[in-house]
């Protein structure tokens, strides 16, 4: 019997993507424990005992956590390039960097800072956002900012393998052919234009999305709403599909960004549905179903399920059967499906077939299309995250209507819209760019996997996206979340590479790491391997 991650909305708001939330930690004890118990007491006792243990632990933690701040140090927010504070600046600016070094016990004080006068409270949600910045995800990012690797300038710097950047595709060298224009010389460029995207841009984006699916789907531009980034797209859908206090089911491991995008400002919760390495991290419909009913019993209304395809972080492609099963599930439970297809154009496995939810919905009858909402992100496939353009594609006119209005709060700027229209309207350029991108990713991925294997490190088969989901269980000092974080620390501080530990992705099994290879060229792979080798040797000698 497999267990599902319990609803974490009953816990304090300070849970975050990487913090040592009691639920995940407890589950990581239960899962191996269960195996032991089941061997002795059979299925019944093997389930009842861990259940009882788990619930009592939760109860205990819940009671005690109300009185403690349970997150780590606050994340520094000062501009990393500013270095130490300038003495001529105001005292409170100096405090911006000091926040980084405040010890854990003072984290509650941040909720009501006393910097220059009486205590002033910011909102409860601001408090959570501030405390949430101490996860490995943010700490690693900061280290990279402070000491970024550069082949010639800073060869000992920290190599960024954490965030999903695709920095190696160079537009200029890909030569778009005609000059791209940002329309800055056109009159009216600076006027208010539809925040959700000009129709010409939507048409170009729809064309690009079709290209990404190898033209198996034709996307209708009028069903697109553009907004400033995938984070905003996910947040908008969360606001449209769920009320505060509701929840979405999310199979894990999942993108670390969902904790921010779905939860921060909407009041909507995430219920993690763990997938296991034994199943190659495939989604089990049984487990999903169980999670749904457990939430229902607790009085939590599930509004939808969030999937990503290609999967972040494993890189797996969902099969047609998976997608049909999910659609059936959604229909029977009367919920929505959010399909995060931001890596659709980055499928690098020649044998892999990417099937968009849009294709399934298109070709099947008796499917409730209006439950399906797709997210796409130009930044991933086109290698310009700075230009902030992502898309919501929906078959539900009410969702589209509400989303369009919501984009006033997170719009795409006019010059960017014009630049994109000018750049991606050329089908030949788009085709060539996508093809080159895929080939490059394929080469680097192959190099990386081969090199990791030589070190005795396996990863799951990644067919799309920028990530390698790496199994480093053998290098942990203990099979626990603590062991995982210790290993992560070694990778960051000894190996000087920033990778994302599985706990940030809510993986139920410790020891897995997400490694982003889209920033690497083939030449960088040996450099990364040397760093990893150093850490592995350190671990082996210590263990």
């Amino acid at each position: 019997m497999t267990r599902t991650e319990p609803n974490r909305s009953s816990k304090s708001d300070s849970e975050n993507s990487g913090g040592g939330g009691g639920g995940t930690t407890a589950m990581r004890v239960i899962v191996p424990l269960q195996g032991v118990v089941q061997g002795r007491g059979g299925l019944f006792l093997g389930s009842v005992i861990p259940c009882a243990f788990f619930y009592f632990l939760q109860f205990y933690l819940k009671r005690n956590r109300k009185n403690e701040p349970d997150s780590g140090e606050p994340s520094p927010d000062s501009d990393p390039s500013s270095g130490s504070p300038d003495p001529t600046r105001s005292q409170s600016v100096g405090n911006l960097t000091e926040l980084a070094s405040l010890p854990r016990s003072l984290s509650r004080i941040l909720l009501s800072p006393r910097l220059s006068g009486g205590a002033v409270s910011v909102s409860g949600r601001a408090g959570c956002v501030i405390k949430g910045g101490d996860s490995p995800y943010h700490v690693g990012q900061k280290r990279v900012e402070e000491d970024p690797y550069d082949e010639s300038g800073n060869p000992d710097g920290v190599i960024e393998l954490g965030s999903a950047h695709n920095t190696k595709m160079d537009w200029v060298s890909e030569d778009p052919g005609e000059a791209i224009s940002d329309g800055l010389c056109m009159s009216g460029i600076a006027s208010y234009e539809p925040c959700h995207g000009l129709i010409e841009l939507k048409t170009a984006v729809a064309g690009f999305m079709s290209e990404a699916t190898k033209n198996s789907v034709s996307f209708d531009p009028t069903q697109l709403v553009l907004t400033s980034g995938a984070a905003s797209a996910i947040e908008i859908l969360s606001f449209c599909l769920a009320d505060s206090g509701n929840a979405f089911l999310v199979p894990t491991p999942c993108s670390p960004g969902y904790d921010r995008d779905v939860k921060w400002r909407t009041g909507v919760d995430l219920i993690h549905v763990p997938c296991r390495s034994a199943d190659n991290f495939n989604i089990s419909m049984l487990v999903l179903d169980r999670a749904f009913y457990q939430a229902k019993k607790r009085g939590v209304r599930i509004r939808g399920v969030i999937i990503s395809n290609p999967w972040n972080p494993t890189g797996t492609l969902l099969s047609r059967e998976n997608l049909y099963a999910l659609l059936d599930f959604a229909r029977e439970r009367n919920i929505h499906i959010i399909s995060n297809e931001v890596f659709a154009g980055s499928v690098h496995d020649e044998g892999g077939e990417f099937v968009s939810m849009a294709e399934v919905v298109d070709t099947e009858e008796n499917v409730d299309r209006e439950r399906v909402h797709i997210i796409y992100d130009l930044s991933k496939d086109l290698s310009f995250p700075g230009l902030r353009t992502a898309a919501i594609y929906s078959f539900n006119e009410s969702v589209l209507s509400a989303s369009r209005k919501l984009t006033t709060l997170s719009p795409v700027s006019s010059p960017t819209q014009h630049l994109l229209i000018s750049a991606i309207s050329s089908p030949k350029f788009v085709q060539r760019f996508v093809k080159t991108n895929r080939e490059r990713l394929m080469r680097v991925y192959a190099e990386l996997v081969k090199a990791l294997k030589e070190l005795g490190i396996e990863c799951t088969r990644s067919s799309g996206g920028f990530f390698c989901w790496v199994d480093m269980r053998g290098f942990m000092s203990s099979y626990s979340e603590k062991g995982e974080i210790e290993l992560w620390n070694k990778l960051l501080n000894i190996g000087k590479i920033n990778v994302i530990p599985g706990s940030c992705c809510h993986c139920i099994e410790p020891g897995w790491f997400r490694l982003c290879f889209s920033n690497l060229s083939e030449r960088d792979v040996p450099v990364v391997m040397n760093r990893i080798r150093k850490v592995c040797e350190t671990c082996k000698s210590q263990n």
Binding site: G117, A179, D243, S398, S413, P415, T416, S422
Partner: protein
């Protein structure tokens, strides 16, 4: 078969976005029949949009003279890759520096802004919403002096769940907010168990077009300090001030008022109005509270300014000569437009609230109302939209406490179009006046044939006040 609307959130199916309000009928009328001097001279003239097109020629000239500022030109293309991949939510350092410097210049160099406190957002819209998320939880409230910018209802409340408590101001003192009004609103809220987290207002004001004088600012700051609640000052029209009192930013007041807790002070800024670049969606949250800076910066991931825009603006706003000249021209041109429009209205006997800033005036049409009710205001408004064919904004959309005031924008068109608008208004006003005279004359005629005992009480038609029950317009 369409999916049940119950499957969507309350937010998605509700109308708190405000776009179904009758206020948008004017926009729809314009969209369906937009004025064009050649192609559609009888169309609706848009005077409901506070856009600044007065200085776009200066911007275009600068763009032509500085092709390297754009990453899409031969001169600037080298920067393309670096800019395209830049997505750090701190923003480009040179962009923040340029924004801070521009904000200082717009305040006459009397204050210093630190770039570390400059946080991006998707326009001032996004900035106001972000601050609400940071400062208040669902069902907390913010005080807002009326009349206020119509979209505050959406920006401050829609997704945040924060309530707006209006602080009524009226024309007897030119709609200036008073300590009394603030205290009264605060007390009423407390008595009903509503938690006030702060006060938000625009300075210069939209729709009043006035900037706050020193005394009022002191009153406001003492008030919020006394209650230890936040003050959010939306200063997006800062550079449009063209007459006394000169613009005084809350940043300047902090320097003088040491006793005020700086953690309570937050400024919203944008380039949409002062620079006439609404399409760039550049919003800025500037807070003196470190926690708010941290929180807002993290939330800015939802609405970062495009790196292409950051890079372009960093170049343009660092050009000191350009900026100095631009700021001078903005206030000069706004002043000129304001004068043309208000003089034009004066000639036809229509007065406006005395204003010294903004891209609009608040026109006083109380005399033209059938009666002093908002229903009359809406009827008059519909006539102006549909018959006079000018889209203006009724005071009720700004939560004005008195009917009869209308906001009219004058900076989003060329001078010829403005003159056409004035002509139409004149025609309408004069005809309206004549109709009124004729009707009251007719009324008098009827009365004079009725009982003679009332003779001495009947006044001549020209002196008939609009409030008189004998007048029916």
């Amino acid at each position: 078969m369409s999916l049940d609307k119950n499957l969507l959130s309350k937010l998605a199916v509700g109308d708190k976005h405000g776009e179904d309000s009758p206020y948008f009928d004017g926009w729809k009328a314009y969209d369906n029949n937009p004025f064009h001097p050649e192609h559609n001279p009888q169309g609706v003239i848009q005077m409901g949009l506070a856009e600044n097109q007065l200085c776009s020629d200066l911007i275009k000239e600068w763009i032509k003279a500085n092709p390297q500022a754009s990453i899409c030109t031969a001169e600037g293309i080298d920067g393309f890759s670096d800019i395209a991949v830049f997505q750090d939510y701190h923003g480009l350092k040179q962009f923040r520096q340029a924004i801070a410097a521009f904000m200082e210049k717009a305040r006459g160099g009397r204050v210093r802004f630190e770039e570390e406190r400059v946080v991006m957002s998707g326009g001032a819209t996004g900035a106001n919403e972000t601050l609400m998320f940071c400062l208040a939880d669902r069902d907390d409230a913010f005080l807002v002096p009326t009349p206020y910018y119509a979209a505050f209802d959406r920006d401050l409340s829609w997704r945040t769940g924060v309530r707006i408590i209006p602080v009524e101001c009226n024309s007897s003192n030119n709609f200036q907010v008073t300590k009394q009004a603030l205290e009264s609103a605060y007390l009423n809220a407390q008595e009903t168990g509503i938690k006030i987290k702060g006060l938000i207002l625009a300075n210069p004001s939209n729709p009043l077009g006035t900037s706050l004088d020193r005394e009022t600012l002191q009153t406001l700051m003492d008030f919020i300090n006394d209650k230890q609640i936040h003050l959010v000052c939306d200063e997006i029209y800062a550079a449009t001030v063209f007459a006394e009192p000169r613009f005084i930013s809350v940043a300047e007041m902090i320097q003088e008022m040491d006793h005020v807790n700086r953690d309570l002070i937050h400024i919203v800024y944008s380039l949409s109005k002062d620079m006439g670049l609404p399409g760039f969606r550049v919003g800025v949250v500037y807070s003196y509270n470190d926690s708010v800076v941290t929180c807002a910066r993290r939330m800015s991931s939802f609405g970062l300014v495009s790196s292409q825009t950051q890079s372009f603006l960093a170049a343009m706003l660092s050009d000191q000569i350009f900026v100095d000249n631009f700021l001078k021209e903005v206030s000069k041109r706004v002043a000129k437009r304001h004068l043309i429009f208000t003089e034009g209205l004066k000639e036809m006997g229509v007065s406006c609230l005395t204003s010294n800033a903004g891209l609009f005036v608040l026109m006083d049409l109380r005399q033209m109302l059938k009666d002093q009710t908002f229903e009359s205001e809406m009827s008059l408004w519909r006539i102006i939209i549909n018959k006079v064919k000018i889209n203006i904004s009724p005071g009720s959309s700004f939560h004005c406490s008195e009917p009869g005031w209308f906001r009219v924008c004058f900076a989003n068109m060329d001078e010829d179009t403005l003159q056409i608008a004035l002509q139409r208004m004149k025609h309408f006003v004069l005809r309206h006046r004549e109709n009124k005279k004729r009707k009251s004359f007719q009324e008098n005629l009827k009365l004079s044939f009725s009982s003679m005992t009332y003779d001495e009480h009947v006044r001549t038609p020209t002196l008939m006040s609009p409030h008189s029950p004998l007048v029916r317009t």
